[in-house]
């Protein structure tokens, strides 16, 4: 009592979200700490994207409330930067213009910073290309840089690597983990890949089938930095089995 809970950055309290007859989320209780990398795993259609949309402020909960830094999220929240599975880049702008988009709106455009972000996500030399000229992996790097350019407090990632080939995905996973650590970002990451969850998450949350709520959580104690080699260690296999047991019941329940 009396100790301020300053460390909680995102929170959902007794959230329910309905779309007409469909109950996407029910009894959703969730909290994450500043600097934490949380991965939510769940079958498709379990409402995990809905939860992200609530935190981004794209949708409002039907009942209950979501909070950023202790304040309710009532409108689109630019401090929660979103990365989409389909990149959602501005096709008519160059890579550089895409990244500078957010800062320009705020009148805080800094070309040197854009160059630094281009280097951070590893797309040097492609600043003047259009998105259509890039591969999927590079597009997602641009999207990541565009979100980081706005300097959000939380990075919301909606299955950002799901459409990429296995090798590109591996590479981007490792880079996102490094980036989150270097920039000390809080990340809420959604996936249906257990391997991805184990590679990235400090904490892994399993969601139930619809209506979605939290079913189980697991603190991921695998040593960092994590690479593909880790997937052969006994501890990894043990955690994976545990997670899969939990997810499996939900996937089977969806059938």
């Amino acid at each position: 009592m009396g100790v301020p809970q300053v460390s909680v950055i995102l929170e959902a309290r007794t959230v329910e979200k309905r779309f007409g007859e469909v109950v996407a989320l029910q009894g959703m209780e969730f909290a994450m700490e500043r600097g934490e990398f949380v991965v939510i795993v769940g079958a498709s259609g379990c409402g995990k994207s809905t939860l992200l949309n609530l935190f981004a402020g794209f949708e409002r909960p039907t009942t209950g409330e979501v909070y950023l830094d202790g304040e309710p999220i009532l409108a689109v929240e630019p401090r929660c930067g979103m990365v989409f599975q389909n990149y959602a880049l501005f096709e008519w702008l160059t890579v550089r213009e895409n990244i500078a988009f957010g800062p320009k709106l705020k009148g805080a455009h800094d070309p040197a910073r854009v160059d630094r972000l281009i280097a951070t996500v590893g797309i040097e030399g492609f600043g003047d290309h259009y998105p259509a000229q890039l591969s999927g992996g590079m597009k997602q790097r641009v999207a990541l840089a565009r979100t980081l350019a706005n300097d959000p407090e939380v990075l919301l990632c909606d299955e950002p690597f799901a459409a990429l080939d296995a090798m590109t995905r591996q590479l981007l996973q490792e880079e996102l983990a490094r980036l989150a650590r270097d920039e000390q970002k809080s990340v809420l990451f959604i996936t249906h890949s257990i391997d991805e969850a184990l590679l990235l998450g400090d904490r892994i949350v399993v969601m139930t089938a619809r209506p979605g709520r939290i079913k189980a959580e697991l603190r991921n104690d695998l040593p960092k930095p994590r690479t593909a080699d880790l997937e052969l260690t006994p501890r990894y296999i043990e955690l994976k089995r545990e997670l899969w047991q939990s997810v499996r019941e939900e996937v089977e329940g969806m059938k």
Binding site: P78, A88, F90, L105, Y130
Partner: protein
Amino acid sequence: MVREESGAGEMVELVDPLSGETVKVRRPSITERRETVRRALVNPPALDTPGNTVRDAWKLMTSPDGGRPTLGQHAFWSTFRILLGFLISALVAVPLGVAMGLFPRLRAAVSPIISFLRPLPSIAWVPLALIWLGAGEAQKLAIIFMGSFSAALLYTVEATLKVDPNVVRAARNLGVGERQMLTKVLLPAALPNILSGLKVVMAIGWTCVISAEIVGTQKGLGSLIWNSREISKTSWVLVGMVSISALVLVFDALFNAIERRLLPWVFRK
């Protein structure tokens, strides 16, 4: 040697299959019948020889008699009418179509009207256009406008609806407000599909050329085709048809060039 058929030249009674009346006709001789067939095959009234067609086409391009307009003048007038009609059509359809894409209520209100107008061929507008606007240029533009408007509108609505909702969300997430969304995101995102729709609409505009020029003008490829039909000048009908197709090709190429300039992000690979 021709053997005369018996009974040639005599009068015979035939029953008219339509009226049921009995009529008396003279039976033609075999020579007369052969002559009729020969004339039809060798000198059919509906087709000119290729040589005649080329000669007539050349005459039309250089100096048609009787103070008639040259092919160039016909082409100029049609182009002028169709481009202007197309432009007016696009200027109304694009803003309305984008608005319809954005506001479901407006879409619901306008769609039934468009469903009614869309199937009407441009020629159906000729009588009303004549009565309301007379036989001047306004009537011709109105026909081209009505013939191309619903297509332009539907393509624009479609293009607006096709904008990826995640792109709009990404923009909101980066701080774009309601007011800036249209110019900063929706229009550039929909532009490639709007333009490729308008390219089709321009060709649709050309299909209205005969309806537009069927009355009240002696100038234009449509009137050339229509008037030549009346004087059985098949060669000029063909020249008119080929000119329309050729002009559509030219304008398609021009439109493609404009597209490439306006949409570097689509064409730079």
